[in-house]
């Protein structure tokens, strides 16, 4: 059903997409952009009949020690019931603390306490939404010295305990591997392939830290997908097989046509992978 790559539908493109119905394979939305905007929600419902929709939440914080905002989960459930999405997903992260929303996806220590908490929240969220909830690997700038397992081990155990599926953000894997100094391909090799339900690709920026003499990759979603991420994507396709793939671009948006061009490239690479074609460098 999702053989062609999808694109993130952000509010500045909404009217254009409603008016012109461009040939996107599918559309991903952040429900938080629509729940507080009845007019945008009205337009989304028009699109839901014509495009497969994926709901990718940035506000359901399954990693928060202070708990999940169940009122927000209930609002998303209402949206889901109306839109009937093909995929529902969120993040291996936390973003809320004692009722405050920190507007970012923050890293977790990977240990038993966190694993117990996430497994519990994930069961509850999936029950609350009435759908499987795919968990996306984060882009990381640092980790915690108290972690007792790697991120891959943590995700594998989460899948084993909850039966959840994973959204593998290939760009995030690249960003984190560069920032934390591990092998991106080994990371992909370690993920349970049978649990992968979706792939993401997004742009990032490189920042120099002249004091430390190092650079850091920042997951900005405000630029084109880097060649390194495309190369890792082809590796991921060989490892996991073709999966629904999304082009994410949230800031400094280009034209919708530019997003479709990126999606077309992802679709071509996926088709080649499905046919067993050799690696195609961009």
């Amino acid at each position: 059903m999702l053989s062609r790559a999808g694109v993130g539908l952000r509010l500045p493109h909404l009217s254009e997409v409603v008016a012109t119905r461009p040939p996107a394979g599918w559309l991903e939305i952040h429900p938080e952009n629509f729940l507080a905007n009845p007019h945008a929600f009205e337009l989304l419902l028009q699109l839901a009949g014509d495009y497969p929709i994926s709901v990718h939440t940035v506000g359901v914080s399954i990693g928060s020690a202070s708990g999940v905002d169940w009122a927000h989960v209930a609002r998303i459930r209402e949206l889901i019931d109306l839109v009937n999405p093909v995929l529902v997903s969120g993040h291996l992260a936390w973003s809320t603390h004692r009722g405050e929303y920190l507007n970012d996806l923050l890293p977790l220590p990977y240990d038993d306490e966190t694993l117990d908490l996430l497994a519990m929240h994930l069961h509850q969220v999936q029950d609350g939404l009435g759908r499987p909830f795919l968990v996306e690997n984060p882009s990381s700038y640092f980790g915690f010295g108290t972690s007792t397992m790697t991120e891959v081990e943590f995700l594998g155990e989460l899948v084993r305990r909850t039966g959840c599926r994973l959204l593998c953000d290939v760009s995030n894997v690249y960003v984190s591997s560069e920032n934390l100094g591990y092998d991106a391909r080994a990371y992909l090799d370690g993920l349970p392939a049978e649990a992968i339900g979706e792939l993401h690709l997004g742009g990032f920026q490189s920042e120099d830290d002249p004091d430390a003499g190092t650079r850091v990759l920042v997951d900005t979603h405000d630029t084109a997908i880097a060649d390194e991420a495309w190369r890792l994507y082809t590796y991921a396709l060989r490892r996991f097989g073709p999966k629904p793939t999304l082009i994410e671009w949230d800031d400094d948006l280009p034209s919708f046509a530019d997003l479709l061009d990126e999606a077309t490239l992802a679709s071509v690479l996926a088709r080649q992978a499905a046919q067993g074609a050799p690696h195609v460098a961009r």
Binding site: E32, H39, A40, G59, A65, F144, G145
Partner: protein
Amino acid sequence: MSLAELQQRVRDAIVLGRDALENVSLVAGQGDGWRRLAIHHRHYETSLVKGLLRRFPATAWLLGSPLLIEAARIFIKACPPTAPCLAEYGETFPPWLSGWSELAHVPYAGDFAALDWQLGKVSIEVETPAVTFDVFAALEADAMTAVRLRLQPGLDYLKAAWPIDNLMRLYLTDTAPEHLVLEPEHIWLQVRGARGQFDFARLSESEFLFRQGVHAAIPLGEAADCALDRDDSFDPGRALTALFTDDLVTSILTAASEDTCEIHR
């Protein structure tokens, strides 16, 4: 250290920009952990300040972007978002601006920002079909005062001690003069919008009190009493009819029994 304690410390570092992570071991490859954490602090600040500037375009015009950015930077530390949707963040910014000492010389800034906020809020609403007056007229006469009305979602009421509506029109029409003297003046406004459009208009104080009461879903009789307490020449019949002719009423709620009966068009 528990996860809850760790998250409290990270929260403080991100919101307050404070190095609250002593005794927390951060792993950052070749990089410095604190510098890496600062990326999240910067994102918190940048994204929320940008969001507030986008949410208060007229206020940025009035005060100038540098001053509004300074205000926003302080505000987001004092009042982090408490809702998941960024578009919902900023409702308490106008009263906060009213109390900000740097704006003591702009006493209408808070009221103006409140109007700015309301215009943005109503403009993303959706109008629903209006009920006509003959539906209301068909009710039993002695039940009418207990009736409550539901009004269009893209509707709100605000009062101010300055003629902020005139100021807003200068912004919207890009016709600000070189010099303008603003004199205090109590005004009562109705703000209405839907699907990207908005409008605002002055009401008399009694009309405002009546409509504000109806909007808050108090019984019609009580809303009329509020208006009559202020102005004994207030005409409830005319005011009620105007709600229908302006297509503001979307449903009529009667309490003929313990169950509320909702009458649509």
